[in-house]
Structures are given as structure tokens and as C-alpha cells.
């Protein structure tokens, strides 16, 4: 029976909610494997495990529960070992590395912040900042909306100007949060967001972080901000300097294309 691994933490084993289950249909009971001061949170791996929504959620929820109690190194989704004893061997062989990462991340959690543009607000900004666009818009309006070509020309420029705002506003968010974070990691790009930022913060500093996000939300009306956390430190399990596993940072999403 192969073993699905959710994450690695240290002894003593974290208290798991009674009946906590993980991946699979039916969901497999979650258990722990202990070795050399380390604890792997695992379950049996279903033979036909696929990256379905329900499975991803199960992975995240098991980790969220452990993370609520203590620091945990979250595995990427879909990590399957041949059996329990192989997991134990990995814990023993890499104990030093895991303990170092756990020390570094001790007391910290990840927050993920995604920003998108409030379309009306960003249009106001773009028109206010670019007199020529405003003039063109007003000229069109004076002409009863303008011709098809005029509308197209204006619309294209406005769309381009809105897009040009994206890196500006992404930097605004980063500048606001960076001082509060132990580490910052750009998340994978995905549709609909102008930026996707993960920050590593002390658990106790979470309120500060949320306050900073809220302040920015107020002071920058063109930004719509969405905060997720506290999360296990998905984005910070590997060292972020050059010695880090290059696959961890450079990897792009499997379905990026």
C-alpha cells in the first residue's frame, strides 16, 4: 500500500481531529509516522489518485489543521511514497534539512494576497493621468460617441493604459507589505489577477499584515485585494537563495500552456 504524504513537522505528533480524513474516495484516515524527532502526516494513497478539486481540498484541509497548531512543511500536492517505511527513511536521511527548515519557519505562516483592478476606479485614474486620453474621450462624446474607428482607437488606448497600470499597482502592493514580511514570494501568475503575492509573517504579526492590506485597500481604490491565510508556508519551504532547489522556483504550472 503506497503512502500519501501531506507534510512534515516535528515531534510531538500534532493532535489531529478525530476522524480527520484526507485524499481518496472514500477519504482515507490521516495518521502520523514518527522518526528521529520528525513527524510525517500521511494517509494511505488511493490507487487512482487524480488532481481533482476534492483531492486538492483534502490536501489543503489536512495541512491547514496541522498548520493551525504549529509549523509544518507542506508537501506539494500529489506526493506518494512506496510505503510507510520509505517515508521513515526519508525522514531519517534528511532530518537535518527538515529540522533546519522547520527552525527557519517556526512561528511563521504564509498569507497570499491577490490583487485585481476595480475597473471603474482604474478608468478614473487612467483618464485623470492622461490628458490626451481624456481629451479624446471628450471629443468622442462631443461627437455623439464618435465613429466606430474613433471608438476603437480610444478603447484600445484605454485598454493599453489600464494594462500599463498593472505593474505599477503590483509594486504598490509589494511595497506596502514587504516591510512586514520575513520573506516575500511572487506567486504563480493566473488569470484575473494583476499580482499574486505570498508573504511569510510571524503568526503574531498577522493582524498587522491584515491592517496594512486594509489600509491599502482604502488608500488605493483601484485595487481589489483578496487575502488568504494563515496558510502553511507553501511558498517558503525551500530556501529562496541560490542554493535552493531550482525546480522549486523556476517551475511553472503544469497546465500553463
Amino acid at each position: 500500500m503506497s503512502t500519501y504524504v501531506y507534510g512534515i513537522t516535528r515531534t510531538p505528533a500534532p493532535p489531529l481531529r478525530d476522524g480527520l480524513t484526507g485524499v481518496g474516495d472514500p477519504p482515507r484516515p490521516v495518521r502520523v509516522l514518527q522518526r528521529d524527532g520528525l513527524v510525517a502526516v500521511v494517509s494511505d494513497a488511493p490507487a487512482d489518485l487524480r488532481p481533482k478539486r476534492r483531492e486538492l481540498l483534502a490536501h489543503q484541509q489536512v495541512l491547514a489543521q496541522v498548520n493551525a497548531e504549529r509549523v509544518v512543511l507542506p508537501m506539494r500536492f500529489g506526493s506518494v511514497s512506496d510505503d510507510d517505511s520509505t517515508v521513515g527513511e526519508v525522514l531519517v536521511e534528511r532530518a537535518e534539512h527538515f529540522l533546519e527548515r522547520l527552525d527557519t519557519l517556526e512561528g511563521k505562516v504564509e498569507y497570499n494576497i491577490k490583487a485585481s483592478h476595480d475597473q471603474e476606479a482604474v478608468l478614473h485614474i487612467v483618464l485623470a493621468e492622461q490628458p490626451e486620453l481624456r481629451a479624446e474621450s471628450e471629443a468622442n462624446r462631443a461627437a455623439g460617441g464618435g465613429s466606430y474607428e474613433q471608438k476603437l482607437a480610444l478603447g484600445e488606448k484605454v485598454a493599453r493604459a489600464v494594462k500599463a497600470r498593472e505593474p505599477v499597482d503590483a509594486a504598490l502592493l509589494r511595497r506596502a507589505l514587504e516591510p512586514l514580511a520575513a520573506e516575500v514570494s511572487e506567486g504563480p501568475q493566473s488569470a484575473g489577477w494583476l499580482t499574486n503575492l505570498s508573504v511569510l509573517v510571524e503568526r503574531e504579526a498577522a493582524d498587522e499584515l491584515l491592517a496594512a492590506v486594509e489600509e491599502l485597500d482604502t488608500s488605493a481604490p483601484q485595487l481589489e485585494l483578496k487575502v488568504n491565510g494563515p496558510l502553511p508556508p507553501y511558498s517558503f519551504v525551500e530556501k529562496t537563495d541560490a542554493s535552493a532547489d531550482p525546480a522549486a522556483g523556476a517551475r511553472t504550472a503544469p497546465a500553463a500552456g
Binding site: L73, E120, H124, E156, G187, A247, A253, P254, A255, G257
Partner: protein, 136 residues
């Protein structure tokens, strides 16, 4: 601002989409473990801007600009507390009924259309009305 606490118990799937890319793209990888094949996973990576850059969208932007000026006056600054504040504090639903009704509707439509087209079935997104929620 929307805050989604992560340690929801039970079937709280609402925020799954928002951390999906972290679960799939980040986290510890150990070479001694096999990784489940991710073939078939459909992450929403379609670049929304590709869709936005269409003639239809340009026309909607132009239309929105016209109406935006009409509604808010020519000399107003982007701060526009009366208008912008209202917009950011309410969800998309409310926006369409606000002071910017015409322009907001048009622009929302343009973006919503882009977003709709970028969505995939099976993985529900929560892009549309992002209402402000009080964090506890």
C-alpha cells in the same frame, strides 16, 4: 478587501480556488516520492488580457469612458471619494446600481465577459462579485 481564513473546517470550498496554485505549484518536493500525474488538471492560466484585447472590448472601453466622463464631471480627480468609495465598498452587483450605473455596467460587462471566457468548467472561480467581508 476579502479575507478568507484558511483553517475552515468542513466543506469550506469557497477559498480553494485561491490557493489552488500554491497547492499545485509550491510546497516541498522530495525526489524519493512519486508525484501524482497532473495531466488533466486545468488551472486557469488563460491570460485574461488576451481576451480583453478584442475589438468588442475596445468598443466597450470607449463607451465606458464616454459615460464615465458624463457621470463624474470633467475635472474630477481619480480620488473621487463620492464615487470611487462607493464603488469599492460594494460588490459588483451594487456597482451597477450606483452613480456610475451606465459606465459601470458596460465596463463590468467587458471584464466579466473576459473573465467568463477565461473560466473553465469544473473549477469554479470566485472572480465576480467580490464583496467586502468583515474579518472576524
Amino acid at each position: 478587501m476579502t479575507v478568507a481564513p484558511a483553517q475552515q473546517q468542513g466543506g469550506g470550498t469557497g477559498n480553494l480556488y485561491d490557493v489552488l496554485e500554491l497547492v499545485l505549484d509550491r510546497g516541498l518536493v522530495i525526489d524519493a516520492f512519486v508525484r501524482v500525474s497532473l495531466v488533466g488538471i486545468e488551472i486557469l492560466k488563460i491570460d485574461v488580457r488576451v481576451v480583453v484585447a478584442s475589438v468588442d472590448t475596445y468598443l466597450k472601453f470607449a463607451e465606458a469612458c464616454n459615460r464615465l466622463d458624463l457621470e463624474s464631471g470633467r475635472n474630477k480627480s481619480p480620488g473621487l471619494p463620492d464615487v470611487v468609495g462607493q464603488v469599492t465598498e460594494s460588490g459588483a452587483q451594487a456597482k451597477t446600481k450606483g452613480a456610475l450605473s451606465g459606465a459601470a455596467q458596460t465596463v463590468s460587462d467587458a471584464f466579466q465577459q473576459a473573465r467568463d471566457e477565461s473560466q473553465e468548467s469544473g473549477t469554479r472561480r470566485r472572480t465576480a462579485p467580490r464583496k467586502k467581508e468583515e474579518r472576524e
